[in-house]
């Protein structure tokens, strides 16, 4: 009896994994194409890591290191979007986190590990509190997520400016704080480690416990979830809290990398890149199913794209256009309708072609919903 249950369980899991990875094929393909283009232009050095000063380097590793803040924010955003929400305030929270940490450190003994630890703790706590505030507005007061988080998107940078007094505070290059952005443990850059740990933690939390399913349920239909006995309000608050926390952490890494906090420009428009990464990764803005790994690939695509533009010698003016084209390509590739439409003339008169595409599309729609 239990063996039978186990078997059906593992079969379900296999089917789920199959669906999951089918989702990832298209973004992964685009990322591979970008990598191949870069290798063609700059040689295999692009992908082969090298060690410099005890820290792993090389073009691709550097992309991953620089993308760590975006990845953290995009992961938080993925969870928020899974609940049918959105968080526009992450860029401002990034700036606030960076401002708090730098301002705390420059007023004290910069070399002291204790000071740095307290600075980091305060910054993360404030970021999480801001996230929880967003969640409360959405869950308890029924304010639409886009409006609730817009408030802090606008006000947040002002708060960050108040913290820094309108200046750009710079910490010493010797303070242990900068290791968060520049350091390495066993040659692996610290930002990559932090982002990796958060990715693993969120993946474990949402995939090995019921939390992930509850999240998707809240996103799919909050009212039905509530009636089914899921405490959707607490889950919503929790998700926004995690998102704020991730944004604060991203701000810390960014500030540590530069050794300074720029209230005006730190993490500017990062919320849009994060949303982009989530969408590229296959998570629908309608809520429900979410793909942390897809988001990760989306972040890698965005980071690689920026470098690709420089490597193939396009001018900066192309940056936005190129981004738009890549998003368009990924979005179209992910659309079963579009694929069926393209495939139709290729399949010629074979009658089986269209219906099977149709079946696939309804299957995926069900997935999304």
């Amino acid at each position: 009896m239990s063996a039978l249950l186990d078997r059906s369980k593992s079969a379900a899991r296999a089917a789920w994994a199959h669906q999951y990875f089918r989702r990832l094929i298209w973004p992964l393909g685009v990322l591979l194409v970008l990598i191949v283009v870069n290798i063609a232009v700059t040689g295999f050095d692009f992908i082969i890591p090298s060690v410099h000063d005890g820290r792993l380097g090389g073009a691709f590793v550097n992309i991953l290191r620089r993308s760590a803040p975006l990845l953290l924010i995009a992961l938080g955003m993925t969870l928020v979007i899974a609940t049918k929400g959105i968080d526009l305030s992450v860029g401002a929270v990034y700036a606030i986190g960076a401002a708090i940490a730098c301002q705390w450190i420059i007023g004290r003994d910069q070399m002291s590990l204790g000071v740095v630890f307290v600075a980091v703790a305060i910054a993360i706590a404030v970021a999480a509190a801001i996230g929880a505030w967003n969640g409360l507005m959405v869950a308890n007061f029924g304010i639409q997520p886009i409006v609730a988080t817009l408030i802090l998107m606008i006000a947040g940078r002002g708060i960050a400016q108040l913290i820094t007094g309108g200046q750009i505070p710079s910490v010493s290059d010797e303070t242990p704080f900068v290791e968060l952005g520049r350091g390495a443990v066993l040659t692996i850059p610290v930002p990559i480690i932090i982002a990796g740990v958060v990715l693993a933690a969120l993946a474990l939390l949402t995939r090995t416990t019921a939390l992930g399913m509850l999240l998707e349920s809240v996103g799919g239909n909050p009212e039905a979830s509530r009636l089914a006995g899921i405490r959707s309000k607490s889950i919503t608050v929790l998700v926004y809290l995690v998102c704020g926390l991730c944004a604060g952490l991203a701000g810390l890494i960014g500030a540590a990398n530069l050794g300074s906090a720029d209230a005006n420009n730190g993490g500017l428009w990062i919320e849009l890149d994060a949303i982009l990464a989530v969408v590229i990764g296959g998570t629908a803005l309608l809520g429900g199913r979410f793909f942390l790994l897809g988001t990760t690939i989306g972040v890698a695509i965005i980071g690689t794209l920026e470098v690709t533009i420089i490597n193939i010698g396009l001018s900066s003016q192309w940056q936005f256009t190129a981004k738009a084209i890549v998003v368009l390509v990924v979005a179209l590739l992910q659309s079963p309708e579009f694929r069926a439409w393209v495939a139709k003339p290729l399949r010629g008169k074979r009658p089986g072609g269209a219906p099977s595409a149709k079946a696939e599309s309804t299957g995926e729609e069900a997935l999304v919903k």
Binding site: I168, N257, L258, N265, L268, G313, S316
Partner: protein, 330 residues
């Protein structure tokens, strides 16, 4: 209902106080024009969005006080509506001269015409307005970005006259006036001096340290910066300082393996200069308060003005960094 009533009372009080100010100040303004009492100047500033801007506001306020003028300072918080309201208030208060640092270029015609009708001259500070409104202000005092670029180009031409130069350029926000003019000015001066140079690459770092650092990291992967690049030209301090970090983290000595020019001249920039990490600073000077007061006095006296008055801006080489550092205000 209560709220509305309160708001009404508030507005009434505000109007009364404004009217009171107006009558007071008009008397003062009248005497200011003829006697040696100071002028009444209205200054609508952009906001407090950067250290440069804050230094600019401080400079203007200090200079007005030193010259014995009364300055009505309004922080526009980067909002054109607030600035328009401020200018209208200045007109109502009959100030002697209005100084405006417009947050954007368009949409000023109406309010400038009102000032014109009231006979109050308008001086623009730092930023400009649409060419169509050129007759509605007396002069613009601001930085000549192209001249800043030419200064950088001239230094490059002198420094690399014998060897020629391979240049990497970190430009500002795509399409912004300082980015465009600093780029074209540099090339103009370098061409004119007959410098043999090649700009290997121009990429935008968006005027931020983050942008400068990440673009520089990619440059370092793409080029053998240590051996093949002679000069890095950064359109502002922040990008230059970010690039310096990227160079150092990759074992390239900034200022030695590759020479560096930055535009702006903030305290942080000069500190890097003193540490030998960069070679030339072209100033973009926010401290034009005193010069602004001179222009305002001359406008009030009715003197003929050029449409554009460039701010006095210096250039600083390695020998000047240490001496100049204490004078930096932002």
């Amino acid at each position: 209902m209560l709220k509305k009533a309160l708001a009404g009372i508030g507005a009434g009080v505000l109007l009364l106080s404004l009217a009171a100010c107006g009558s007071d100040d008009s008397g003062q303004g009248g005497s200011g024009g003829s006697g040696d009492e100071g002028l009444l100047i209205g200054f609508a500033q952009v906001g407090a969005e950067s250290a440069w801007r804050t230094a600019n506001s401080d400079s203007v306020q200090a200079a007005a006080e030193a010259a014995g003028h009364e300055l009505k300072f309004v922080d526009g918080q980067q909002d054109q509506e607030k600035q328009i309201t401020a200018v209208r208030d200045f007109i109502a208060q009959q100030v002697d001269v209005i100084v405006l640092a417009p947050v954007v270029e368009t949409g000023w015609t109406d309010v400038l015409e009102e000032a014109d009708a009231a006979g109050i001259p308008v001086v623009l500070a730092d930023r400009g307005v649409d060419a169509a409104d050129e007759d509605l202000y007396v002069t613009r005092l601001g930085s000549d970005f192209a001249e800043e670029g030419r200064k950088a180009g001239a230094w490059a031409a002198e420094t690399f006259a014998d060897t020629g130069a391979a240049v990497l350029e970190l430009e500002g926000t795509v399409g912004s006036a300082p980015a465009n003019d600093r780029a074209s000015g540099f090339r103009e001066a370098a061409d004119e001096a007959g410098l043999e140079y090649e700009v290997l690459e121009t990429q935008s770092g968006d005027f931020t340290a983050e942008g400068g650092k990440s673009v520089m990291e990619t440059f370092i992967e793409k080029y053998d910066v240590k051996n093949d690049v002679d000069l890095l030209y950064a359109h502002n301090d922040e990008m230059g300082l970010g690039a310096i970090q990227a160079l150092e983290e990759n074992g390239i000595v900034p200022g030695v393996d590759v020479q560096i020019i930055i535009v702006d001249g903030s305290k942080a920039g000069f500190e890097a200069g003193v540490a030998g990490k960069l070679n030339y600073i072209v100033e973009c000077n926010p401290a034009f308060g005193e010069q602004l007061m001179e222009v305002v006095e001359s406008v009030d006296a009715g003197d003929e003005q050029e449409k554009f008055t460039p701010v006095e801006e210096g250039v600083f080489g390695p020998d000047d960094f240490e001496a100049e550092l204490p004078n930096r205000q932002f």
